[in-house]
Every structure is written in C-alpha cells, then in structure tokens.
Symmetry: C2
Subunit: 390 residues, 2 copies
C-alpha cells in the first residue's frame, strides 16, 4: 500500500488568549493509504507547520515535508521508520519540519494500527499496556487561595497526583512558597504534588536553588523545567543539590537527541516527551527505550486533545514502573470535543489506553468543521496550501 | 527611536535544483527606525520563516515574532539584547522562530550601526577587525578528477584554504579516499584542506572512524559535520581518535546553547556558527566569547549573499587567532548580485570587513525586484502576509 494523501487541518478557538494554555488551537494531520485513514496532531503554531509541509524546496537538505511522505510504501513499522528518516534527511535545514514530522508520524502509526488491526503500542513492541496515574495539570491560581482550591478540586475529582505550573510562579520567592504550601494543602499529604516552573529561570541556577527548600519540605516529587530545555549545565548543577526533588524536563525536545542530552548531561529524573514535537512516536519510543536503560522515568507531555493524549501514552505504555502521565484538565472545547472517545479516569483514579486499532480514538468531524480555520498560502500565483476538504 | 517597520522579502532563483547549494533562495529582512534602514538574512526555507513572523498566536509562549519587535525602543546595543530575549520567551514553542529571529537580529544590528555611525563589530565590543583567511567552499566533484580541478582552480584564484563537501562524499570508503587525495593534490601541500561530510554518517562512529586514516595522511585540518548536530556522544567518540584532524560542527545550532554543547560535550576543535540560524549576531557573539574562553576556534558558516557573509564575520572580527572563514564561491546570481559591495580577496588571499556603518553592505534593489517571489498568506479571510513594497 502507498500513502495516497496527506492533509493538515488548522483548528482554532474563535479567541486565543495570551495564557499558557496550549489547547486553544490545533493542527490535525490526516493521512490515507489503501482505504485506511490515520490521524495525528502537531505541536504548535499550525500556520508555521503547514508552511513546513508545503514550502518550496530551498536546497537538497531543505525540502517540504510532504515530498518525503506522499507515495511512500506503508505496510509495516519499518516503513514508518524509513519515512521518518527520509523526512529528517531531506528537511534537515528546515527547523519547523520536526514539528510537522511529529504529527505525520503519529498519523502514520494510527493508520498502520488500523491496517493491521492492532493498537499502536503493540506495533511499537509492547505486549501489554499498563494503566497510568494521571496528574491533573493546571495553571497556578492568581492567588495561593485559588491554587489551593484548584488543587483541592482536582483531588476531589479523583486525581491522585496534581501538577501546578506557570502563571505567577517563579517571579517572587515568598509568593512561590505560599503557592507551593497552598498546593500541598489542596492535594493532601497522601497524593503526589508536582511543580512546573515553565523555564521561568532561563539558566539562573541560584534563583532556582532558592526554591529547593520549600519543594523538599512540601515533598514535591519533581520540579519541572526550571530552565530552558538546552540549559544542560544548569540542570545538572541544580540536580546536584535537589536531593528528594527530582528534575523533570524535555517537552521542548524536537528530536530524540535533545531528550538524551537532558538524561545524560542534565541529570533529570523524569524525561518528559511531547510526541507532537519530538518527531512523533518513532522518536518518542526511542526516548522511552533510552530512559528505561538509563533508569530515568518517562512521562508524556501533552496539553491538547485526547487524540494527542492517546498518542503520547503509546511510547511508554509497556513500561510498568513508569506510572505518572500528564492529563490536562482545562481543555478548551476545541480540544476536548475533537474526539468522541476520551481517556476517562477509572475508579482507581487511573487511565488505560484503548484496546482498539491504532490510537483508538474516533474523531468528531463536526468539531473539526466548527473550529476549522480557512487558510491559503500562495507563492508566485500558485496555491501551495488551501484548507482541504474533510 | 522605535522600530517602525519589519518586512520580509522572499527571493528565489527561477529554478531551484536538488543540490546542496543554499544560495538558490533567500529571505531578506528589512527593519526601519527613525529614518534608518537595516538589512538581514535568515536561513532557510523563506516561506516557513515568513509564517513564523506573522502566524496567529497559539498561546502565551507561541507568538509570532513580529509581535515582540514592532514598536520596540532601539537606541543602543542593550535594546537589541532585550528584543532578542523577548522573542525567545514569547515564541519559545514556535520552533522556526529561531531562524526568523536570526535575520531580524542581524537587521537590527545593521540598523543600529548606521544610526550610531559605527561598524557592527564595534557595537559588539571589538576595537579592531582582523582580516580572515577565506576558504573556498564548494561541493565535491562527481569524480575525483573533477574534485582535483575544482581545488586547483580555487588555489589558482588565490585561496590559501579550500573546503570540499557534500556531493558524493561519505558513501563509499574507496571513493572518499580518492576524492580526498585528489583534493589535496589540487590545493597543494602548502595550503589548508578542509573536508565537510554534511552529517552523512548520522551518528555512526565506526563508519566515520574508517575515514580518519586518509584524513590524517592528507593533513586535513578539520573534518566537518561527520554527524547530526545533536549527536554529541558520536562527536566525542570520534574526537577521541581523530588526533591531528579536529572536528568541526555547529551550523545546525539554532541557539547558543547547542553550540556550547558541541564545545563542552562534543569536543569539537572548531565551532561553526550560522548567524542566520543561531539567533543572529546577539547569539553568535555569545558563542564567540564562549569559544574563546574554551580555547576552541570560531568559524562562520555561510553559504548565501555577501550581506550574510559580512554579518557572519562580525561576531569574531576581533578574535585575531581565529583565522579561517567560510567563503562560498559558487553563489547563484541572486545571492552574489544582492549587494553592490562584496568582500573580495586582497593580494594576500585574505578578506577584511568593511569599515563602514552597520554591516557595510549596500543592497541592490534591482536584484531584489528581479528575484522577488510574490507570496500571500491568508487566514480566515485576513491577509497575514503579502510581499511588501520595496
């Protein structure tokens, strides 16, 4: 079978707010081969990633992503690995191509799973899919009281782990202390508390260190992204003093190498991988294998739809000891309504991947239509991109 | 003074060939403030980088680059550093933004230089600009004989250093040996020979090692990009055995951190920085400072116009011991004719930066008009980008 079509759909809420909520728009990928359809999702900036798909060639190592995908043979996992490698080589100098590749790769695995009547995690080499403990991921409140209430509400909804991030955090030590104390009060002593600094400290180790005491006292499991993804020396320096608090990072990695570096040089305890950025499931599975081997815990990063959520869990579905998973709970309707299926918490407060072919998520075409952004790119009078028909 | 306008111009040769020649298209940046105009250039994929400039916001850390630049104050170097940081923070999740920022940053330094009536290297902190030894950079011939002739021609034109790269190199050991021997014969024993593998070996250390003997025998000064920019372990492993042949790499770095990693973890002897990718002159100067401190030699990477060439030399203009510079000699007319000024070899086979304000290069508007690619991006019936007026 050959890949017959590759289409990108740009979705957006009518208003996009200036907040750290990545569910306000989406770039959906649809790929078809032999009558089967696969879906994937890219992070982030839909327009820019569409351009990476269709742009004119600049030179031999800077080709549009579509050129390495359309017409390719697809019958087994090694075909996806081959296509993945072809994109990486042919689009090496096209920076955004890693994000475009990510959604395409996810869609290819979904398609192959449907073709083979297997869940993706099987195709990736896992026999079983183990349930994960989702942490409710939300923005810090504007006040400690609001943080407390958000955390409390999450645990009341059945979450055994909670992550607070971004918002006001990181700018003022005293305020940070109050927010962390409030968050711990909200989640209770028996549950897991995680803190996400959202790279707020750049590469400033000293200012990050000043937060370690309160994080240790409040038994925070990880401190996420104290620094820019590439500030490896800073990660290592902080890790040397963080004791019970492990560092977490990696969401910015746009290839597997960057994740390896955080493990090898940055000394993180948790490696967080966004399958929609790192190069799809092909790259994410490599990171999971590497993390397992290095005794580092893999965690998904995702803040969009349940299609992206299902995709993000497949690469470590078979790693029993890697228990936590990110689970955004403040999704915009665009993201939540994108799928008819959802990965809901079971009575034990855990989630399981669907035992269905591919990613196991049925798309809601009405949602796509509702939020579809009509887009057109014209170069020298030639229409390179136009929002495709559903 | 405030930044009044920021415009991108997409230029292309009528035909773009599937070869490793980056001078076939260009993305020019024009910025104006207080009646002054600055010019810069981004690498690569003009359409994708334009999208990064104008795309709709996805969330607070994924904003279009233009939003962090227009209207900003610009009167001194620290203003550029501030704008640079603002783009990095506001466009953190927009991968291509690093390439867009690069051209914008270059144009800002050019503009500030004109405003202050100073060459950019002065503003970057250097008192003197030292002449550099350009290496003629060209693709390997299809046959060793052709490689020999290209190398011979370059030395006859006055070059004291020659770099052969890409093309057939890296795929067959015996052919590689013949090409390297032919290149050395062409340049003669007295001149510098450099080899560029163009990441052909991915992260395969063994296959790279098999080339070391011939490179050592032929007194090759550096082996460039044996691996993917991020394959740091592979770089280090090869470096441990490369003896007289130093490794060179870094052109793929899209921020200063990636260059630091090649120095710290990859053990390169030469760090090659493309100012049009790494984050402009602001980031490139940081890499130059770091390299100097770590006893690693800085080299520019550039394969486009003399505007880009002048920009690429400014960050290490004042480093007297860092002698070599890349100097593409097979530029397409688009790239060569883009400027009225050119950095030509002097009688000693060296080049000097112009002692003029900014980057010291006058643009040729006729060339821009001739190769201008009319481009339009429409999102939800709103024209987000249209090729601007010259």
């Amino acid at each position: 079978m050959k890949i017959d079509s590759l289409d990108f759909f740009y979705l957006s809420m009518p208003e996009v707010e200036d907040i750290g909520d990545g569910s306000q728009d989406a770039l959906l990928v649809r790929v078809t081969a032999g009558g089967y359809t696969g879906w994937g999702e890219c992070e982030a900036s839909p327009l820019t990633t569409i351009a990476a798909l269709v742009c004119p060639m600049s030179h031999s190592a800077c080709k549009p992503v579509v050129a390495s995908v359309l017409g390719e043979r697809l019958t087994q996992p090694s075909d996806i690995v081959r296509i993945h490698q072809k994109v990486r080589e042919n689009s090496m100098d096209l920076l955004q191509s890693d994000h475009a590749l990510s959604g395409v790769d996810i869609a290819l695995w979904d398609l192959l799973g449907k073709m083979c009547d297997e869940p993706v995690y099987h195709l990736l080499g896992y026999k079983h899919s183990y349930s994960k403990v989702p942490y409710a991921s939300f923005l810090f409140g504007d006040t400690p009281q609001e943080t407390f209430e958000k955390a409390k509400r999450a645990t009341q909804q059945g979450y055994k782990a909670v992550k607070c991030g971004w918002g006001p955090f990181g700018k003022n030590l005293q305020a940070d202390i109050e927010h962390v104390v409030a968050a711990r009060e909200g989640v209770g002593q028996e549950n897991v508390l995680l803190i996400d600094a959202g790279t707020v400290w750049g590469s400033d180790v000293e200012v990050a260190k000043s937060r370690l005491k309160i994080l240790q006292e409040q038994k925070v499991t990880w401190l996420e992204e104290p620094f820019h993804t590439s500030a490896l020396e800073a990660y290592r320096a902080l890790s040397n003093e963080s004791k019970t608090v492990k560092l977490a990072g990696g969401e910015g990695a746009h290839n597997e190498f960057m994740a390896y570096h955080l493990i090898d040089y940055g000394d993180v305890g948790f490696i967080q991988v966004d399958a929609g950025r790192v190069g799809g499931l092909t790259s994410a599975k490599r990171v999971a294998d590497y993390a397992f081997q290095k005794n580092v815990t893999y965690v998904n990063h995702t803040f969009t739809s349940h299609l992206a959520l299902s995709a993000s869990l497949q690469p470590y579905a078979g790693l029993e000891g890697h228990r936590l998973c990110e689970y955004p709970i403040e999704l915009k309707p665009l993201a939540y309504d994108l799928t008819n299926d959802h990965l809901e918490l079971n009575q034990g407060g855990e989630i399981c991947l669907p035992e269905k072919p591919g990613l196991g998520m049925e798309l809601n075409l009405e949602t796509i239509k509702k939020y579809l952004v009509q887009t057109q790119i014209i170069v020298n009078k030639k229409v390179l991109y136009e929002t495709p028909k559903l």
